[in-house]
Symmetry: C3
Subunit: 155 residues, 3 copies
């Protein structure tokens, strides 16, 4: 099944390619590696519900997990735009998931699974990746989660 068909089956519409920003870009390819920028849980320009605040206080872990999925969707869109088409992405090799964490919240892996499971749903065996999940003090726009991805382009 194509990646596009899989996304359609999951009911996921990839957003338009994020616009290139002043001094950095949404994703860069070097050789076959594709580095995405850190992605926030933005949808149509605004943070999704549960996408803002510190997890364990104003945001529940379930809400943050859903926000992490949105970050992953945006990371996929950034990588797809970089290589011209989502079908040109062969696999996902590494995620780093930063979770804005209230003191005492230590379930970053639960939150990060929102991103990891998305990539596995879309890419199957090729979506299985290495991952780090850590709890940080603050994120841009007071987001609850930020995800960066490294993918591999088809040769």
């Amino acid at each position: 099944m194509s990646i596009r068909a899989k996304l359609a089956e999951l009911g996921v519409a990839l957003p338009d390619a994020p616009k290139p920003l002043a001094a950095y870009v949404p994703a860069v390819r070097v050789g076959n590696l594709i580095y995405s920028s850190g992605q926030l849980p933005l949808l149509n320009g605004a943070l999704v519900s549960g996408g803002k605040g510190k997890v364990g206080l104003s945001v529940t872990k379930e809400e943050a997990k859903a926000a992490a999925r949105q970050c992953a969707i945006n990371a996929l869109a950034a990588m797809a735009a970089c290589v011209g088409d989502v079908e040109n992405i062969e696999r996902i090799v590494k995620l780093t998931v930063f979770v804005a964490s209230e003191s005492g919240f230590s379930e970053q892996p639960f939150v990060a699974n929102g991103a990891s499971e998305f990539f596995q749903e879309v890419f199957g065996e090729n979506g299985r990746h290495a991952r780090s999940a850590v709890g940080v003090a603050e994120l841009p726009m007071s987001a609850s989660v930020e995800v960066e991805a490294i993918g591999v382009a088809k040769p």
Copy 2:
């Protein structure tokens, strides 16, 4: 000297390969690069002494340095399982060390040396790597330290 002999000399027993987890895996190879997942200071399924809590408060920097070494052992085990044998790892190129830090604790490099020195002991010149060490708010399982590594496989 083989890596295995060097580990024996150091009295380090590599743990069994970590089990593949639901949506991500302990390490992934792409080309000759091996990306490990972030590793916690686990030994036989439990955090080691000094492996839990914030450094500078409930955990001393010396304890955290020892915990960082355990993280590095686990990262090596993950990379070894990924490429079939620890002897198939040629060198270590990059570490990122996340230290759960009490406010005002700024000796993350001291802690990170626990991981860096381990890799240099095992790989010698090939163990010299680039590194970032940062102090984060919280880590999974309330661990005191988390280490991710990038290695290079023999061709």
Copy 3:
């Protein structure tokens, strides 16, 4: 224009190559990728003004942006030493910017632009990179910002 000429035009003097440290090194090359270690806003061995403290409290975002530029200069010096000459660096592909953030400070992208804009000024189109910017609890030496870079060497 050469990189060296561009640096001169910007009035930037690359510092001497950082000395190799005990257990890790300022930068490592593998294939054409160059990984820098995390760099602090050091100038002549001391943190620059605005290079120490938490952003949003003792350090303003404008000061931290200037500090991030100094981190980027140091990262460029580290990569240049690794490949023998700054002219051997072809492009910059990825930055990770860690900002020591007071609770409630969420303008990490503003701070990170200090590093991103430097690389774009020096490398032009080849300086456009992917980037993550996150707010962390503490950094080594109580620095306000730390920047790590991945570059590409000329073949």
